[in-house]
Amino acid sequence: MTAPFAAIETATAATAVAALANVDATIGATTVTGIFDDGYAEAFGMAAGSKPTFTCNSSALPAITLGTTEITVNATDYTIVEMQDEASGITTLMLEAQ
């Protein structure tokens, strides 16, 4: 039996992703709905840029090879370089511009 709070946490997380989703991304042949964020970021205080991430339900993701698998968001191609899996069933992908 699934622990009651874990079930609530997972359901809540999935609902949150669905409510906040702002984009359909493409990973290979799979379309994944999720939250794309590309806020301002700096490196060393010397180089400006952004920090693109894509957050979605973990169950919606196809197999991913870090550093190789590409994701297309808003017609821009990125490489997935890091995955942060949350116990609640949400995954955040860290993206690298090409």
Binding site: A41, E42, A43, G49, P52
Partner: protein
């Protein structure tokens, strides 16, 4: 006449301008992050300076640390780009050991490299640490003695 520190910084910036990798993207200010269109670039800064009384009269011996910092942002081959920058800077600096203003010595003291992957493409920096030796008369920091 500006302080010799400024004269040195400007002379170094001139020496390292128009290199193959960094072109004219040479900055003498360390404020404000650079946009991707301004990279790869060089930042030339004058830093700490040790001053010792000279052996003759009031002449002061000064040892100034100058950092030539290369900054690059790339999804690939970032190490190669940084090493290219070091090669080009070292070669250029060696063409004019007195910087055209009569400094007594210039020595490359070390190179350090660092990376940051917190932005949309990895950013790398390479610091070439130079020690510039020059002399001034006490109270006359604008002229090499």
């Amino acid at each position: 006449m500006p302080h010799v520190r400024q004269q040195i910084r400007e002379a170094v910036a001139t020496l390292v301008t128009s290199l193959s990798t960094t072109g004219t993207r040479v900055f003498q200010s360390r404020t404000y992050p650079k946009q991707e269109s301004q990279l790869p670039c060089l930042l030339v800064t004058t830093n700490e300076e040790a001053i010792a009384p000279g052996s003759v009269g009031t002449r002061q011996e000064r040892e100034l640390t100058v950092i030539v910092r290369g900054v690059a942002k790339s999804a690939g081959a970032l190490d190669d780009t940084l090493d290219d920058i070091a090669f080009e800077v070292e070669t250029a600096m060696a063409t004019d050991p007195d910087l055209g203003i009569g400094v007594a010595g210039m020595e490359l003291r070390g190179i350090s490299v660092d990376f940051d992957d917190e932005t949309d493409k990895p950013v790398g920096v390479i610091d070439l640490n130079y020690r510039i030796t020059y002399f001034t008369a006490a109270g006359s920091p604008g002229s090499i003695a």
